[in-house]
Subunit: 249 residues, 8 copies
Amino acid sequence: MNMDTLIELLNGVSNGDIQVEKAADSLKHLSYEDIDFAHIDHHRSLRKGFPEVIFGESKTTDQIGGILEKMTRQENTVLVTRVDPPKAGIICNAYPEAVYHEDARIIVWQKQPAPVTGKGTILVISAGTSDIPIARESILTAEAMGNRVETVFDIGVAGIHRLMGHRELIESASVLIVVAGMEGALPSVVAGLTASPVIAVPTSIGYGVSLGGLTALFGMLSSCSSNVAVVNIDNGFGAGYMASAINHI
Amino acid sequence: MNMDTLIELLNGVSNGDIQVEKAADSLKHLSYEDIDFAHIDHHRSLRKGFPEVIFGESKTTDQIGGILEKMTRQENTVLVTRVDPPKAGIICNAYPEAVYHEDARIIVWQKQPAPVTGKGTILVISAGTSDIPIARESILTAEAMGNRVETVFDIGVAGIHRLMGHRELIESASVLIVVAGMEGALPSVVAGLTASPVIAVPTSIGYGVSLGGLTALFGMLSSCSSNVAVVNIDNGFGAGYMASAINHI
Amino acid sequence: MNMDTLIELLNGVSNGDIQVEKAADSLKHLSYEDIDFAHIDHHRSLRKGFPEVIFGESKTTDQIGGILEKMTRQENTVLVTRVDPPKAGIICNAYPEAVYHEDARIIVWQKQPAPVTGKGTILVISAGTSDIPIARESILTAEAMGNRVETVFDIGVAGIHRLMGHRELIESASVLIVVAGMEGALPSVVAGLTASPVIAVPTSIGYGVSLGGLTALFGMLSSCSSNVAVVNIDNGFGAGYMASAINHI
Amino acid sequence: MNMDTLIELLNGVSNGDIQVEKAADSLKHLSYEDIDFAHIDHHRSLRKGFPEVIFGESKTTDQIGGILEKMTRQENTVLVTRVDPPKAGIICNAYPEAVYHEDARIIVWQKQPAPVTGKGTILVISAGTSDIPIARESILTAEAMGNRVETVFDIGVAGIHRLMGHRELIESASVLIVVAGMEGALPSVVAGLTASPVIAVPTSIGYGVSLGGLTALFGMLSSCSSNVAVVNIDNGFGAGYMASAINHI
Amino acid sequence: MNMDTLIELLNGVSNGDIQVEKAADSLKHLSYEDIDFAHIDHHRSLRKGFPEVIFGESKTTDQIGGILEKMTRQENTVLVTRVDPPKAGIICNAYPEAVYHEDARIIVWQKQPAPVTGKGTILVISAGTSDIPIARESILTAEAMGNRVETVFDIGVAGIHRLMGHRELIESASVLIVVAGMEGALPSVVAGLTASPVIAVPTSIGYGVSLGGLTALFGMLSSCSSNVAVVNIDNGFGAGYMASAINHI
Amino acid sequence: MNMDTLIELLNGVSNGDIQVEKAADSLKHLSYEDIDFAHIDHHRSLRKGFPEVIFGESKTTDQIGGILEKMTRQENTVLVTRVDPPKAGIICNAYPEAVYHEDARIIVWQKQPAPVTGKGTILVISAGTSDIPIARESILTAEAMGNRVETVFDIGVAGIHRLMGHRELIESASVLIVVAGMEGALPSVVAGLTASPVIAVPTSIGYGVSLGGLTALFGMLSSCSSNVAVVNIDNGFGAGYMASAINHI
Amino acid sequence: MNMDTLIELLNGVSNGDIQVEKAADSLKHLSYEDIDFAHIDHHRSLRKGFPEVIFGESKTTDQIGGILEKMTRQENTVLVTRVDPPKAGIICNAYPEAVYHEDARIIVWQKQPAPVTGKGTILVISAGTSDIPIARESILTAEAMGNRVETVFDIGVAGIHRLMGHRELIESASVLIVVAGMEGALPSVVAGLTASPVIAVPTSIGYGVSLGGLTALFGMLSSCSSNVAVVNIDNGFGAGYMASAINHI
Amino acid sequence: MNMDTLIELLNGVSNGDIQVEKAADSLKHLSYEDIDFAHIDHHRSLRKGFPEVIFGESKTTDQIGGILEKMTRQENTVLVTRVDPPKAGIICNAYPEAVYHEDARIIVWQKQPAPVTGKGTILVISAGTSDIPIARESILTAEAMGNRVETVFDIGVAGIHRLMGHRELIESASVLIVVAGMEGALPSVVAGLTASPVIAVPTSIGYGVSLGGLTALFGMLSSCSSNVAVVNIDNGFGAGYMASAINHI
């Protein structure tokens, strides 16, 4: 339930179109709904402009389905992240509007497409081909939250001229998401070329001292560029969400 | 040298007020200036809207002074971060416009106060009294970069009603900076109350498993709220800079 | 063998109902019993009020069966923790009174249900839906040890009003167990609302810097609330046991 | 302000002894008091039975003094932990009722001694002579919170007969605190001898792989005894607080 | 080739039983033999009293077979450690004297049983049932190297009386091997009861902060008993080898 | 495209053999080519003397194929590293000149064999039999880049005479690659015997405190020999590449 | 009190030279003596052949003095380890027989020199000049416990011929202690040259990835030689004690 | 003693200019010289082309002096690294040819300047002003070993145009040393611009997750450029030595 549907409901009560009992019933679960294994935070759309997102990784298909059942009654858009293909198959069968993006492991369920409400463009850059799945998670999240998104893939710092070839795109973006594994050096270089805020996403791509992404993470946090902030390893979803929050201030 | 002074210079050339030779001389060092121990990036004001900031911690007083001498000729505002009191005394003697804030270990040198150019208000929250010095570094940076800043100190999660008492302030801010040590739980709770982007700053306050701030950092990166991104431990300066970048998109 | 059965035995000897030889035979293995691959500590029920619990994870089915065979002769309740379904199937076939709880990976074998002997109520709270299996391990352990248990699931700190809605339950509990992964912030907030002792259980839920639960663990140990103590990652059993010990002082 | 003084105040209003205006004034700051660098949580005594404790380590003497000034108006007992001798000297000069315990680095300020309200005895055991300062922090905290405390020092596991010589004391305690550095093995052995809850406190005593107490901490969390929960390294205060919470259920 | 067979060979040459050419041929590979993927160190039996041991874990069956083919020509005993059952099946088919011990993952190939040459008894103690496979690796290694070995299994520190029941055995051993996972406390307690050297073997048994055995390892290295030295995690073989070296000084 | 083919092309234009339009077309993609999921850096051969190498581990077969299709049009040699057998089968079917080396997990595609252009000999030494796959990756890389390579396998420091037997070979090499797991001590000893530069490659061979190769890595970086530099764990490819760069200065 | 003085006492009682009351008084504190801050384990000499050793690092001078006062009444030799010079000055003033060795930070107090009771020679080897203080701690401990000790200093693996020059000494020792920092490679090489047991002592010498000795420690534990066991970082005392235990089996 | 002085000596013997006895005396210490606390490796100049370098950090002034006394008799150049000013003052007083470079903490003692024998130019680049001391250690070492050295300081990746301004210098160098702290991204970018080998030196400059240089180190080891190898944190000396070894192949 977002602010628009809430006001619509109250207007309905005000002008007599909606009975008080029915309105009360709708509002009953406004705060949260306890379905035994989950407390669904229906109030979140009002408070934060976007409903709760379901972290799919360690939930059973039944649990995801149970939460979806309640949320799809009240929301326009629901995301389920970190879903593997077998789980996704079962869920998408039950919810035909749900679309599964296998590379990004994300399900996007929408009553109707989200209109573009963000101010500028979010540019998503990946350092390598292997980082694309995480970048895709950012893109899908930001789009579902009403943002215009552009992308450039595979422009790592070992061939700096590839990056320079996209300089105008970099300078014109309102918010940038830079996804990189291994040494995670790309966000520093990109942030040095723009005054806009850069969200850095370390990935677990690499081996040995890449330490599952910790090296990229620590490198990004130690960046000598200052318009950079960082999210968790492989958290493409969080970067898309944060970029959208920035693009809507 | 920022865009205004550059245009002013070129206009001067255009209308004959400034001789070509003198203008050429001024522009000569536009890109960068090599003073042996440093390459000063004069181009940065143009590119990023704010000049290079001097990381004072491991530089000698002579090195800081040498860089300041070049920068103060071209910029309106220069920051020097992580300066201890003895170094600061020497520098402030040489540059009377320089003001040293001892708790935040920062020197702010300004020709004239920065006008407020940021869109909304930046709210800086600290979890504990001990986190205030880092919060102050954020505040001074954001103010020097042209932002309106408000503050709430010492509202940790062990007394959640203290936080709730400032709920309106939280909801009305455009960007929030939340500074916390120990378990670093405050940014998750604050971000749960607003749709605005939250910059989380872990501090090294604590002992034992606080691990010099790593526990707060990892907790913030693992936040179950999604409108959160994180900067390095004790990096109040970076948080202020990033918040300003967001507040100027 | 617990204190009751020991006294009964000795009374039997005293009033001539039980022959001295037979009593001696019963008492022979009181201290411990060596079955080659294990020293069963039969004395533990007397010393600690509850018999040894079998850690199932790295034992073979034969080893678990061998230990169960000896223990079920002398005890009323035996727990086997961290048992996977195939092992559990074999064991429950052989011991019909054994009940396997798959989500909690625990086998509870009881001659008759444990009477409630604990003073107050133990409240078990989980931060997320994904943390429920560990919470269930706590619940089953505490119940098997004679405690009244209540539960609230999925009330993480990103929606603090969900927690506030259960405030009375929190204030009335004698002992609380709070199970949380990711940043592990919930125990601090809960402990701030009650004077009762809180046992915090970090879980391995999360990814990237969650570090398999270390981040939640360190966050809980760094808690700014003081009525908190912590057990090992995913150790729902230990938390239930410790809560029971507290509830029986 | 605890429950007694609150009821006394309200009774005073009820029977006319206290003017409404004066009572309102007293209650005004009940929730918390904002003194710029701190939000003092006056409500905590009511909510948790004991007022906020001041973490002295990274606060200035002025900050500690400012908080003390407010708290001593409303509370019977105030603790300041982790205070070094120079700070303590200044504070104790200003507050003559304040007593500084140098080994435990703790200041105890009391209007009058706390009456014993805890149910049983808390036994504090230290593994080595070097662990005594942390043990002392536990003892002083538990006593200030109204508990009877007994102590045994220096009975490490390398001479297990020393431990056995105190077996009766161990068996009769309601709650035990076991303080140990190096390999941190003592809590497991002690907990094996009693059904009561054991709070384990790792200390930073040791060198090399002791890793500043992490090895003792991890050993205690991995304990093969189950009636054990653990607090942060060197957190004698937290152990005393938690033991008191248990002793008051 | 050990000292006995070398002297026998030279005696044979001396008294004409063996032709010089044949002796030269035998001695040709004395130093080492290069079989492309391995340099077999035939000199080791002479230098160290026991031939090279084959670390099976990351070698192919072909590589193990190739090395065995050369070694079995010259040695009385060959050990292959860390062999999984499929590899072991293939090898034991080709070498009928080879015996595979599945729990210890070790192959023992012997021309004839090793006579007992060690001075005293080596006592191998395991803390838990789950630690037995590593203990077995120690036992088989020590026996193959000519030592008398005794064993006690599952006497962890949570029931210290089980340990005390074997006190005479502990006091009479020449060398002790103590195998323990989780907190690894047993070696300290055992070493406190004897003047003999104790080899401590940490195992990877445990979960969470057991960190794959690092916690047990660090605990053992931090032991407050001084007659303790430690080998790598799960290195039962190394402990058996070291104990044998001690038992033969 | 390397310098030779570039000059040939330009000569063709100069003497009229090649039409300007066709040359322009060839040069169009000189800088880089954007094929959606990758920016192929065709300029690299000119800049660095060897084309981009494809990191196969986290790319799909389609992605590897798409990149190969573009690169094989312009280059003489293309390497794909860290390819598992199923992927390799599909790729080698499509590119008959591609040769897959399973132990080294590398695909070498060559129009014609690389001529030897390096100055001296590169000697590749492995400490153990288990380290050979990584050593093979170095060998194949160095050979593909035009170097003469010699090898010695399995000469660890536990039998130092095996190393001494190859002393002349060590002294005559221009560059040495030393591959070692476990304690990683071999590079120090080898580097002590030669004035030539030594590239040390830690491997993940080992268990327990080998920590997946970190111990070998840190040992090599702490080497008391100074003519040593180190690459990432298991990075045989990087060592071969670096050795070739040295051998071509 | 060791076995000799105990038997002498009992003989005195038996033949009437010592009064029963006086003997009882002497034996009263046999088990342990509680002096408030310490439980002195007088029984240890009987049980382990050598009295408790005082870990001086985190004890006050008063505590060390208090323990010494009791121990010097009953023992022939008392060691205090890790004592800094100011503490040592005060103690040695009070106990004239005490000798302080500043480089090794050890106090040796002896009524009369320890006779040589160990079987063979203990050889102490240091890898570098900087490792000598730790080696000295081993030497003094082993000598105080009745062992013949020989030494070789500064023979690191970067110049392997220095080691080879001492080969006979290495082969003739009964037990070896090898002290090394940085990469800690020396014990592997030494152990490859002898059948005797080697105690490896990592030191904190080094910088960067030496990690305060952890790299040397892990390297030693990963040793490819099997007659090696390891003690804590900088624990020269423990190595000397363990070597003596081995030399007395 | 290097090859030249050895041949000169032997020629002298050959033509009767030098008496056999005197020559024997000179050669006596060729292999190594035992001065109690050190084994000086005089053979190293012959074997490696440069004498042993003295690691000054944990040696006493007496030890450094003792080693220098022996070495200056036989060598042309002696380096002492990591010497603090007080030690350096004493040493330089005793050895007037010794020159102390305080920023690099290095003493260079030379009979006469080293002639340039390296093939090409070594270029030393520092990312920041704060990294210059480590860069200086590289420069002084490489020059003392006979190399031509050029330098560029303070060209970090946050202003990539500064780096591009030195592109010709980068392309013309034979070997490059790149010194960087914080995220350590510069070596990847530089190595992407040249075919020459790059030695990367991580520095401990930074704070928080810079982890004393580990983040820069791991970033450099994870570099997506392949002509990079790495030395220990702050090991400017080692980088200079390795670069010289490469420049002399």
